[in-house]
Symmetry: C2
């Protein structure tokens, strides 16, 4: 006889922010177990715990070592895992909590953004084999020195996916405060529709384009090991969105455009009248990289003002704008010329879909929709499965709605551009 299915269930900090919410989550887990599953639960720190700990540390030392930050922050998940196990016990279930020294998750020693190097799932296997529910502290691992490490933003998702891989789970369920992945942001696009199934590659693009449901890292791991993810609400029993490998679903609907996303935390910088000689771009972007500034889109063009000179425009995250401008001004002086202009008034609107590979004219339809709305496109970048445009931030919401409409994403099983 096969063992019962093994489900990894991950709950974020808002789902366990209070004793009452934690009890709700516990009942949810018990129901899943009573459906005939073995359950491994991964939990984040309660509500604002992590931010509170960071604030406290700032009062004591504005620039502490990352090793000690990891030890500090990991306490948040340690607390929530212990409490959630207690909540399950209060429901009459056998449950035990596990934190880094017991989880078997070994990482490298890159504190605050460690990578998992090995997982020994034997203890958790034994625990669920005995009919108990294993509650795991997310976000954390142990390096070869037995020092606590943390896995970076979205780390609890990574924990859940990694444990699902190690334990050969049948599914990894990511519980969140939304019903799943949507064709667009429902607060901006009223007829945005929940997506039943989406491919890993599409989700990876969406995550880096402004959709905040999951972090890239966990999706990458799930993709690599073929672990289906189920993103669903912790507040209701609706089925959410399945994130699945492409090859396993040849019959799955492949619309040209799966979703439209917006990222409003974008800023644009232009350096004008730069000398037209080799090495200029390398110098500029090398300098920005040295300052840990991530540059997104880059456009180089002949100067509008001066013959034989170039303009270079690029986008950065809004929080990096000031640092990037300061760097760029210094570099421009070194390069002997040019002005730096910048604006914190742009947004990036993107469409994503693996169907684009086989459908021609998708980008053109997007540009046409923006043109008809009188929205000017400042920069464009494309990949095999996405098109992104930088536009005026004030027009971003309208752009989303126009694009959502033109690709008929609001239709159940929309078939635009098939």
């Amino acid at each position: 006889m096969n063992p019962p299915p093994l489900v990894v269930m991950k709950f974020g900090g808002s789902s366990v922010a209070s004793p009452d919410r934690m009890k709700n989550v516990a009942r949810r887990i018990v129901a899943k177990k009573h459906e005939g599953n073995r359950c491994v639960v991964v939990v984040s720190a309660m509500g604002d715990t992590t931010d509170d700990l960071i604030d406290l540390s700032k009062k004591i030392n504005p620039d502490p070592t990352e090793r000690e930050m990891d030890l500090l922050m990991s306490a948040g998940e340690q607390i929530s895992s212990a409490l959630l196990a207690m909540a399950l016990q209060a429901e009459g279930e056998k449950a035990a909590a596990f934190f880094a020294p017991q989880l078997g998750i070994r990482t490298d020693s890159v504190h605050t953004k460690a990578r998992i190097v090995d997982i020994d799932g034997s203890r958790l296997q034994k625990e669920v084999g005995n009919g108990s529910i294993a509650v795991c502290a997310g976000f954390q691992g142990l390096d070869s020195e037995n020092d606590i490490t943390t896995l970076g933003r979205g780390g609890s998702d990574t924990t859940a996916v990694a444990l699902a891989v190690a334990l050969r789970a049948d599914v990894c369920e990511i519980y969140t405060d939304v019903d799943g992945i949507y064709t667009s942001d429902p607060r901006i696009v009223p007829d945005a529709r929940k997506i039943d199934r989406i491919y890993f590659d599409e989700m990876l693009e969406l995550a880096s384009l402004g959709a905040k449901v999951m972090m890239n890292r966990s999706i990458e791991v799930a993709k690599k090991y073929n672990v289906p993810l189920h993103v669903r609400s912790s507040l209701n029993n609706n089925s959410g969105s399945m994130i699945v490998p492409e090859e396993e679903n040849p019959m799955m609907e492949r619309p040209a455009v799966r979703a439209v996303a917006v990222d409003k935390d974008q800023a644009r910088i232009t350096a004008t009248d730069l000398p037209d000689k080799p090495g200029v771009a390398a110098k500029i972007f090398g300098s920005l990289a040295d300052a840990n500034i991530n540059v997104d889109m880059i456009v180089q063009s002949s100067s509008e003002q001066s013959a034989g000179k170039n303009d270079i425009s690029f986008t950065v995250g809004s929080t990096d704008l000031k640092k990037a401008v300061d760097r760029l001004k210094a570099v421009a002086v070194e390069l002997g010329g040019g002005h730096v202009v910048s604006g914190d008034d742009v947004a990036k609107v993107s469409i994503v879909g693996v169907g684009m590979r086989s459908h021609a004219g998708v980008a053109a339809r997007m540009f046409q929709a923006l043109a008809e709305a009188g929205i000017n496109i400042e920069m464009i970048s494309t990949s095999e499965i996405k098109v992104s445009c930088i536009i005026d931030r004030k027009q971003a919401d309208e752009a989303m709605r126009r694009i959502h409409a033109v690709f008929e994403m609001g239709q159940p099983a929309f078939v635009a551009a098939r």
Copy 2:
């Protein structure tokens, strides 16, 4: 060349209750290091953290497993150790925090009151050998399953003493919110005097008789391994009280009475008219022991009412009174008779001193002092180095002052009854 002296410094929760206090503690540690010491620091959870965590758990499960309680509570010390290491770094010192998986403290698996079975001090040795300050989370250890355990009440003191033993520290300093051990409670006895040196055995008695400065367990370990303890204030630089082995100080002053202590959390229970036959006491106290009720003094006498019957009186902690009475009533019925009377209105006043061994008449002087003040003694118990009396709780403070006066404990280097 010998290595610099190694000092273990332990700070309690109130000493690190806020970022400002934590910074003060950090400066204190830095000063100690700059005096030419290697420093290992043990820290408790900040202020009310442990109580807050317990309260939170009660809202979720009033009766959680002890394993999960240990995982939960230990987070408090983990947080404070990380923050104190950061505070030391802010002072420009090299410092690193260590919690259970790195401390090398192995315990048995008796959760919430685990006993240390082994300490591997090599990692901490290496740390302080490199000129760094090692900040250790108190109160916690790891069992053979890598599960977190806690060491019970006063557990951080035990951690400090155990590390001092393992690291062959020159001294173990216990920082607290009082200046040291006093001849009596200064809030009750105005001329109570700080004791410069006190023997382990005396301190052990005092700790179990109501003096709340240190818990027994840590003193026992210090005594067993001959580690001198220095109990001192975290608020000033005054030297405190040294707790030392008896044999090492033959010239040390040996007053008959070192200190007088009071314990007001006492209750008295009497079962009257019990049958006078073998096994009655065994049945009563066996039943109380089964309920985990600690009985202190016991007096058996012939019944005042009925010939051929016995009365048994004993004391328990006030919190156990109701449980003890319920048990005792059931047992009395089984034994075929007797009434149970109880009172939560008594206190235990005790004098302690190794000098009693060689001084006759000490107990008599205590009884005389109480008699002169019109204070009735209800029960008496003695050991080689202490005398305890149960008296009316309302008269306890006056009893303390009278006893303190009669043995002239307020005199510098008092020599009463030599």
